[in-house]
Subunit: 207 residues, 2 copies
DNA sequence: AAGCTTTTGTGAATGAGAACACAAGGTTAA
DNA sequence: TTAACCTTGTGTTCTCATTCACAAAAGCTT
């Protein structure tokens, strides 16, 4: 294995492989081949092997991959082998849904703080977390939180993002329908629900 | 302009261009150049022109694009020039958030029906829509609803998806963390929040 | 109306990612 | 131990997308 630049598309697929491997292990599969994994998640075996090859040799020729070992390897690449604290900003409908969403925890994420600017919400408790005034955002630094989930309106998003970055946040999962301008060492991943919805009709038949 | 196959990446960008044009028009820009739009949304002017060129000539050389006309053109390509009825299945936390989300309506989507299998939720009214028993899903056919938003658990997703397809749904916006197997004339766009979150740590600095 | 400026539209060149195809390495069975 | 059989890892090829670069077309100025 030589050192290539790792395609971003490969990184996007790694969590898919990880989830697939976890589910198959739960199903009793102690070992799996690229073909089995590919069939399960809907990909091509060659793609999976190529993706893995960027990070080294994971499997055994003639046999396949040891499932628990594979899970460990991918987790390590994605840095999911340690827990990650996250802060949630914007406790509207979407924010509340995210707060009680359990899907994050299996990857080792835990929401440790929540902020809003609405006086009616501040002080309320959801899932054991008390909603704080966004003016007190700076407390996240002492808590060593590096990941933020942003679920505020698009008008507030840029300002809040800057504030997050100023308080030590290194990665943002952005649900606001807008572009965030941040220093280039900060990673932003945006989920824009309306944007995805908007292209659905394009693919649908005429009538 | 010759007839090429239209790249999927281009289709993904069209809603971004559309939103950008709408916002700039609201800002008073009656006319805009590919450079202005590119700067606003964070893309390259060449990319924008190339994307448009797949669908014909939209602009005027030396001048740029007439904003309202551009909006109309893109809307037509994306089939957003007519209203689209949608059904929401799964009224959990995420489903409720989607139900009250206003971002869809600007593209002409309206949620016309909502279903759940939880007796405690059936009959409740959210945003003027009464939650119905999922056993009565077949009523969506008479209402001519072709788009579904799926926000059920991953265990139920496949079964519900099949039921939706059997009742006339042509496109699904899927929030469940799983792959859906549907006939290939049905379009599925999946939003998998945990999957996006899971690759955030990868990009973050060591410590 | 001629020349200068602006910006589009698009072939051509470049770059990136996916698929192919097969050698290398390992297992199983006789 | 040898032969038959798997499945990985990866160089090569092919396909698709992005960027480049410039002619064509329109407005503006004198």
């Amino acid at each position: 294995m030589r050192h290539y630049r790792i395609p971003d598309e490969t990184v996007k697929r790694l969590p898919v492989y990880l989830r697939g491997a976890v589910l198959l292990l739960k199903d009793g599969k102690k070992s799996l081949s690229s073909g089995e994994l590919a069939g399960f998640i809907g990909a091509s075996p060659a793609q999976i092997r190529k993706d893995f090859s960027y990070f080294g040799a994971f499997g055994t020729r003639g046999v396949g991959y040891d499932t628990p070992k594979l899970i460990k390897q991918i987790s390590k690449i994605l840095k999911l082998n340690k827990r990650h604290k996250a802060v949630l900003v914007g406790i509207g409908n979407l924010g509340t849904a995210i707060m009680v969403y359990t899907g994050f925890s299996i990857y080792g994420f835990s929401i440790e703080a929540a902020f809003d600017n609405d006086a009616k919400k501040i002080g309320k408790k959801i899932n054991g977390i008390t909603i704080e005034d966004i003016a007190k955002l700076r407390t996240i630094r002492a808590k060593k939180i590096q990941i933020a989930i942003l679920a505020v309106t698009s008008g507030q998003a840029q300002r809040v993002a800057e504030s997050l970055v100023n308080n030590g946040i290194k990665g943002i999962l952005n649900f606001s329908p807008c572009r965030l301008e941040v220093p280039k060492n900060i990673k932003v991943i945006s989920i824009d629900i309306a944007l995805d919805m908007a292209r659905l009709p394009y693919y649908m038949p005429k009538t």
